[in-house]
Amino acid sequence: MADWLGELDAQLQRSPDFFASRPIVVDLSASGLRGPGIRALFQALYERGIRVVGMEGVEMTALGTGLADLPPILGGGRPAGGVELPGAGGQAAPAEAPEPAQAAPPEPQPAPVPAGEANSLLLDQSVRSGQSVHFPRGDVTVLGAVASGAEIVAGGSIHVYGALRGRAIAGLTGDARARIFCQRLDAELLAIDGAYTTADDMDPALRGRPVQAWRQGEAIAMAALD
């Protein structure tokens, strides 16, 4: 740990702005650290001005008690390739301009979103029961049905060109303007940025029809599209 921090300090000396305003997710899978060690690590990072917004590669059970002061465990990060670290001789400019901290997607550490990476997901097949689609980066479009017992979780809106029989959870990362669209409403649960409605509470007149759902205050409003 001391060696690793030493290397980190050397990097910070070479380019003090490298971590400035970058939200960092710490991957603990190779560290073997547990609760107290993790806390010590985050304290050390904080002292160096590194803002940790989440962690991955660790089980809840390894953290021990008193989890409230630790950053959340995030999942679903994809490796985005390495980031160019400025060499010893080079000065401040990091590989890419620092990204403004986004409320949104957890990123593998530390990497700004590479140019050209899609922020919407298109599925051209039905989603089968038991399958779970997680796409925090943006919208999800399904060309097919979403079966009962399946779920779509998106950071943006959800568009189902078919029957929506499972769960649709939109606006995951705090976007209250996200909407859910489907060609045939048979959903078990709809949620937008934390507010949700279950099948029981949906207007029976909307069942089986093309419907859009959006967030109105603390509730989900729904209207037919036909």
Binding site: S126, S129, G130, A145, A147, S148, G149, R165
Partner: protein, 273 residues
């Protein structure tokens, strides 16, 4: 080239073992070399339905672990000589299955037979995933009722994810076999209609097997229904399904019970209790 078929469903009790035996016997009667393999380790039923329970010496687990050779475990059917059974163990459980051992056994079976039909256990855990892993095609057995349909949908998702073909990026053929179909109850809305099931599952229909007392009668006698009473409606439906498995195109109909007697023809429809 041998074809490995898995008969699976997710839900228990929908007719996988019955269908494995019936389809296996139908294909064997048509002259094909068929082996039916019971993957339900610990709760074996295929040997009962095939009438071979008193001749089981070695089983699939013995062969997987190398305690016995494949020819020692295979049981030839007494009625149709091109039909063989590889039974499961009753004393072990599914944890005794080893992926490398299963791969070796399936490989040996492919060399000896035209059709290897694997009777999957219910569920989505190790037994079911090992049964489906080596399959070229799947027969998804479904009853026309909501829990069975949802479980079948789950199994279809697993077929597209946890099979060797899926891992290689190839497609695995999936066929829907609708069992325990009662046209009267479907018309009354008490059971799902065929179109409803097809709309949810979206896989091609292999056949519709009508609900019939013949099935229970045959399984209690230990004879596959296609051998026990070849002219009964479920047997005729299984024969057609077997033809479709071989690649023939036949229009799907629901066979009805044929009553030979004159009175039966007058009052042709089965009385509803």
């Amino acid at each position: 080239m041998a074809r490995v078929i898995v008969v699976t469903s997710g839900k228990g009790g929908v007719g996988k073992t019955t269908s494995t035996a019936a389809l296996g016997a139908a294909l064997a009667q048509a002259g094909q070399n068929v082996v039916v393999v019971d993957f339900d380790v610990g709760l074996r039923n295929l040997d009962l339905v095939m009438g071979a329970e008193r001749r089981v010496v070695f089983d699939l687990i013995n062969v997987v672990h190398g305690d016995a050779k494949l020819p020692q475990a295979l049981i030839r059917d007494k009625r149709v000589e091109t039909l063989h059974l590889l039974p499961a163990s009753q004393t072990r459980d599914k944890d005794a299955l080893r992926p490398e051992g299963v791969a070796r056994v399936i490989g040996e079976l492919r060399d000896r037979f035209d059709w290897v039909i694997c009777d999957s256990p219910a569920g989505i855990e190790r037994g079911a995933t090992l049964a489906m892993y080596h399959a070229d095609a799947a027969v998804v057995v479904t009853n026309p009722e909501v829990s069975s349909v949802r479980d079948s949908d789950r199994i279809i998702g697993l077929l597209d994810a946890k099979t060797q073909r899926a891992e290689r990026g190839e497609t695995i053929e999936k066929h829907l076999l609708l069992t325990r179909y009662d046209p009267v109850r479907a018309a009354r809305g008490e059971m799902l209609k065929t179109e409803d099931v097809l709309e949810i599952l979206s896989i091609p229909l292999l056949g519709i097997i009508p609900d019939s007392q013949e099935v229970l009668r045959a399984s209690n006698l230990g004879i596959p229904v296609t051998l026990a009473n070849a002219s009964s409606s479920p047997a005729r439906a299984y024969f057609e399904a077997a033809k479709r498995l071989k690649g023939e195109t036949l229009p799907v109909t629901v066979p009805v019970e044929r009553n030979a007697s004159f009175i039966g023809r007058l009052f042709g429809r089965r009385a509803v209790a």
